[in-house]
Symmetry: none
Subunit: 240 residues, 2 copies
């Protein structure tokens, strides 16, 4: 159950509270980074990827709302959970206006924080894994829609992919033209925890070929890169 299920940025200037939260989150398996002021928070959000930011409102150097608003204006949509001082409705409204995703009023129960965090992270990772803004891929005479896991292959047959099949296709498509290490596929599709043998990956690629390649023995889209992994191309391309 442990090992990294999400990277969290914790922005909190009360060091004792910060430590308590961090320890609990880490015990749940998250990777936690802590900063203690608003400017640093903004910098971290700009330059690193997080599954979630837990953002205190009262901070030195830049308050939480401003951090959030600035980040949103710059197009970052990292989920943000506010920690607001006390329950005045005013705070909560500001948090929402600023573009926050959820908020918790101090004092709060750690348990509740953990629940919110879990909800946000889970929702987010599932979305990322399966749904891009460009939900459709076409290659050769095939097409596939990641929103429905349904597609059509060159011969006109409906193709309903399973979850894993779709995810592997997605990983390959996301890096169209580049080779992708097996290792990376495993990590992206299965996560850090469970690592099935890499033969499993072969199997799924095999299935994708059977579904979408007119001649699976001479793949035109799902290429093998010996010693490395696979490479997907949108346009047909022989392996010679």
């Amino acid at each position: 159950m442990n090992s990294t299920i999400g990277r969290i940025l914790l922005v909190e200037d009360e060091v004792n509270l910060a430590r308590g939260i961090r320890e609990n989150l880490e015990a749940e398996g998250y990777t936690v980074e802590v900063v203690t002021d608003g400017m640093s928070a903004l910098n971290s959000i700009r330059h690193k990827e997080f599954s979630l930011v837990i953002l205190d409102v009262m901070l030195p150097r830049m308050d939480g709302y401003t951090v959030c608003e600035t980040a949103r204006r710059e197009g970052r949509d990292t989920p943000i959970l506010f920690l607001t001082a006390k329950g005045g409705g005013q705070d909560r409204i500001r948090g929402l206006e600023a573009g926050g995703d959820d908020y918790l009023t101090k004092p709060f129960q750690l348990r509740e924080l953990l629940l919110r965090v879990a909800a946000i992270v889970r929702r987010r990772t599932r979305y990322d894994a399966m749904t891009a803004l460009e939900p459709m891929v076409r290659f050769g005479d095939n097409e596939f829609d990641f929103r429905s896991f349904r597609g059509r292959s060159w011969n006109g047959a409906d193709q309903l992919l399973t979850q894993k099949e779709a995810m592997i296709l997605k990983v390959l498509v996301a890096r169209e033209g580049e080779m992708v290490w097996r290792e990376e596929i495993l990590e992206k599709v299965w996560g850090d925890d469970v690592l099935p043998s890499s033969r499993t990956v072969d199997n799924f690629v095999l299935r994708l070929r059977k579904r979408f390649e007119p001649d699976p023995e001479r793949p035109a889209h799902f290429h093998t890169v010996r010693g490395i992994g696979y490479r997907f191309t949108t346009t047909a391309e022989s392996d010679q």
Copy 2:
């Protein structure tokens, strides 16, 4: 990327939130018009054409439900996506009865909003006249009216759905062709607070199948997506 792939009317009185949403939609290539109260919204809907209306529920001068109901009564079938505050089931039912097409509860992630918008606009432009998203749905030889919760199934039998049944149907219909996570169904129908076991969802889908599927064991409209949830299609479609 694209130019004018859709004209969107955004009705939201919290100016910061409105600005954030508008900027993001425009970045995606939509044309956005913003109004901040219900009366103006209704006027815009009456006199202009939009691909979609994003409608906050809490508004000055006329609440979102009333706007929607009035527009529907006047025969406008512009798709409407509600932004509801996080809250009691009452909201969700009202949105459903008012004839909305989809709804998102605040706080939401901008990314999620963008995905919904893309889905609705795309569907709209594709089917257009055929299956305009309306308070009425037809699929196979079935039909159902979300305002009266009444319908008729393939064999001619009257179908009076219960509230929950209707809400689940609505959630599935709103995202016709796409898979919908159990999680999302739960959240939309029951809200964030109360979360019954996800077996409950199965049961309701089972009931919908019994009511509307000629052969419930081989569903043609209510498809299972293993590991994810369900997928509804207007046209019959076998699962292979």
